[in-house]
Symmetry: C2
């Protein structure tokens, strides 16, 4: 019950000792009760040193995506104000979808250490070893027509890349519409799903899977994790916190109708623009040069006959 | 258990008598059991005449939207191949949505005599007195991008108007995007909802509410029912069956990518095209002449400054 408070007291001491007596006074419980709370925290993976006469000291927080750890002094107004964190889910998008139908406010986030039925675009699977990467879904309720939905995916890709740059100093590339790559290897995938009327969105779920600390051998072929890119482990909690901050900034821009700013970021990060590509559509292919994105998030391809075609769905393959 | 079979035997006799003995032989049950099935049918509202030596005769079917009544020899391949019919539901769209999430095949239809939480566009209510009108939802799984969703609404409006014309000889008008009018009074509303990824639709629910036999006094202001337009009661079962046929024809066109044919129908039925209109959008208005619809289902308005603007969402008001 009180372990959240105990944890906050320890955090505020910044790795210095806090006496058991002081904690027991603050919480108005016995020192034995304080000791019990410490045991609870230790079982959750917190490393807590206890010294006679000195008290308790927080040595290390666990590498777990605990909701409480992510939301501690999180400087956002919408995104992540409510976080649900699970060991195992079928899919974070499915869990967020249920909450969306129950009417939760926007900004709610779902995290899982493991997904049993992780999904990617077009019904594909998203595989990720347990406890190593980030699997999360963010629910938003933008005032948008469903025709604008691609903007949300593009915006999310931009937010992820800004986060990676903040945390690792590396700039990844976006393959239209929703893959985030490092040297042509997949680091992150985004699955945007929505519940909508014909002319307004009810809610949107943005599912984001990011390879963080997983060994390449445990990932699907063609994938890579940040650990391999940077040569060191990355704090998943820190990453999620930064992602929520970046996502909120970009989402507020989108809400204000300032998609141009995001489109500019997107073009900067785009691994697709200027490339020779082939788009695999339903029943046909379009080959040519990717020349940029449309205000509605679609990709423009200049075909070899000089005509341009707007691609709103399908897979794009980079050629050469 | 056997009343469906009994009913079919009676139907096939076309209002002629069928002896109890014959029925009991066909079903391999006693004549007392046959009599019991007749009682069940009578309780459901079927009028069945019984004559000594002659047997039973179907005199009248009830004015109820029984699934079995609608699907009897229904000449469709997809739409209405599975029908769920209820006395009361919160909303036929909600019920269809749940089935959609469970993965039912396309063409499934939900009907209700009464809705407790009937919904229209943009969270508005849809009111309809019990047992007088048609409240139904059709679930489809088109291979479409969510940006194409408006096509489904337009197509559905076309199907409804064709049905009304078949049944009553009257041609109603469409107010973009989803109202069906007779002399500026509302006869039918369409609520299209979808579950989608950013670039593909998972399923679409088309909710259709049509005022059939309700007295105008029991309808919301500005509404009218077919009964008042034609001066006679309209068979709701016959209407639904014809609607499924028309809807399927139009839906197959849409599936084949032949939206132009539907757009032509839409223009023919449009009460909006050529009208002076004001479109109420989020936070602003666009006034001008409605000049037609776009291939994606949006409305083009030529403003007074000569520029055209494409309207994808919002309400349109006919002026003058």
């Amino acid at each position: 019950m009180k372990q959240d408070l105990v944890l906050n007291f320890l955090r505020e001491e910044n790795e210095h000792f806090l006496s058991g007596e002081e904690i027991s006074k603050k919480l108005k419980v016995s020192r034995a009760a304080v000791w019990k709370e410490m045991q609870v925290l230790r079982r959750l993976g917190y490393e807590i040193e206890a010294q006679p006469h000195l008290g308790y000291r927080l040595v290390k927080i666990p590498d777990k995506l605990y909701a409480d750890e992510i939301s501690y002094k999180l400087p956002t107004q919408i995104i992540g104000k409510r976080i649900y964190s699970y060991e195992t889910l079928d899919s974070t998008n499915d869990a967020a979808w249920k909450l969306g139908e129950e009417g939760v406010p926007e900004g709610v986030c779902i995290l899982a250490e493991h997904q049993k039925k992780g999904r990617g675009r077009l019904g594909r699977a998203w595989a990720s070893p347990k406890g190593k990467n980030i699997l999360l879904s963010i629910l938003v309720r933008p005032v948008l027509a469903p025709t604008d939905i691609a903007k949300i995916t593009l915006m999310s890709a931009v937010s992820v890349i800004k986060t990676v740059r903040q945390i690792t100093g590396k700039t990844l590339g976006i393959k239209w519409p929703n893959d985030i790559l490092y040297k042509n290897k997949k680091v992150c995938g985004i699955l945007t799903e929505m519940s909508a009327e014909a002319d307004r969105v009810k809610f949107v779920i943005i599912g984001i899977g990011i390879n963080i600390n997983a060994d390449v051998s445990t990932l699907p072929p063609g994938s890579i994790a940040l650990k391999e890119i940077t040569g060191r482990e990355v704090s998943r909690v820190e990453f999620v916190r930064q992602l929520f901050v970046e996502f909120e900034k970009d989402y507020l821009l989108l809400k204000k109708g300032k998609f141009e700013a995001l489109a500019k970021d997107w073009e900067e990060f785009s691994a697709t623009s200027g490339r020779r590509v082939v788009a695999h559509l339903l029943g046909r292919q379009v080959q040519g040069e990717a020349v940029g994105i449309d205000p509605d998030g679609a990709l423009w391809i200049r075909k070899d006959n000089g005509l341009q075609e707007k691609i709103t769905a399908g897979d794009v393959e980079h050629l050469r």
